[in-house]
Symmetry: C2
Subunit: 141 residues, 2 copies
Amino acid sequence: MKLTSKGRYAVMALVDLARFNNINPVSLRDISLRQGISLDYLEQIFSKLRKKEIVQSVRGTQGGYVLNKKAKEIKLTNIFDAVDEKVKTVQCKKDSKKGCNGKTTKCVTHNLWDELENHINNFFKEKSLEDLVKDNQERRI
Amino acid sequence: MKLTSKGRYAVMALVDLARFNNINPVSLRDISLRQGISLDYLEQIFSKLRKKEIVQSVRGTQGGYVLNKKAKEIKLTNIFDAVDEKVKTVQCKKDSKKGCNGKTTKCVTHNLWDELENHINNFFKEKSLEDLVKDNQERRI
DNA sequence: AGATACTTGACTATTTTAGTCAGGTTTATA
DNA sequence: TATAAACCTGACTAAAATAGTCAAGTATCT
Ligand code: FES
Ligand code: FES
C-alpha cells in the first residue's frame, strides 16, 4: 500500500499555504517553486480543495489562495477526502451483499481489513494542519 | 492508498491453510477453489512465502503446503514482507540524503508520513495468523 | 492595456497491478 | 512403472491507475 503523490502534494501545499497565510493570498506559483511541485498539477489539486471549501481563491494579480477555515479545524481526513485520496483496504463493494470473489458471505479477511481501514483513518482524523505547521516550526529552531 | 490483491490474497490463503492444516498438507487447488483465487496466481504467492520460510512445500501427489511456524508466530508483517506488499508513504528514498523533489532537506511532510508508516506497521506487527483464525471461528458459532 | 493568476477540460506517457500461459519437475499410488 | 496430482519457474500481457502535461480560456489589479 502506498500513498499517492496527489495526497502527499495536497498536504505539502496546504502546510506551505498555512505557513505563509498571514495577510495576503499565496499564489500557486510560489508554492510550486517552494515545494517543487508542477504548477499545472497544483491547479488540479487546488480546484478540488476549493470545491470542498478548504481554501478560498482570490483571482487576478496578487491573487492566490487562502485557507477557508482555521488550520486547527482542517484535519488530514478532510484534505484526503477532498482530493480523493481514499483508504481502500477491502476488495468487496461497500454496499454490495457479495463478498470477495463473488461469495455470498464476507471473505475470511474482510473484518481484518475493516479494522485496518479504521486504524488508518483514525490517524487522519486526529492530525490537523495546525499540528503539522507546529511540528515544522519546532524542528526549525 | 490501497491494499493490493497480492497482499490480500496472501493473507486469505494463509488463513485458509491454517484452518485446514491439521495433518495433511493443503493443496493450492483446494485453496483456489475455497477462496476463489486463481491457481496460477496462488503459485506465485506461495513461491514467495516458501522462500521466506513461512510455509513448507510437499511435492508430488497428495502434496501441498504446510505452515512452517506456529500460527501464533506468523505476524501480518511477516506475510506482507514475504510477498513484497510494503507500506510506502514517503516519496524520498530511505537512504538518499535528498528529500522530496530534490531538496537537500526533508520536505515539510516527511515526518508526518514516517509517523503514518509506523502507525500502520504497528498494526501489522501485532496481528498474528492465530488471531485471524480465532476471529473467524468465533464469528461462525 | 498588460500582466498576473485562477479555471477548466482534455490528453498522454509511464508505471503498477493482476493476472495468464507455457513448460517444466517431483512423488504417491494404483 | 505409468500416470496423475501437485509443486515450480519464468516470461508475458491486458487493463487500470498514476502523475502529470497542454491548451485555451476568464478575472482582476495596476
Ligand atoms: S474484503 Fe470484503 S469480502 Fe473480502
Ligand atoms: S517524503 Fe521524505 S522528503 Fe518528502
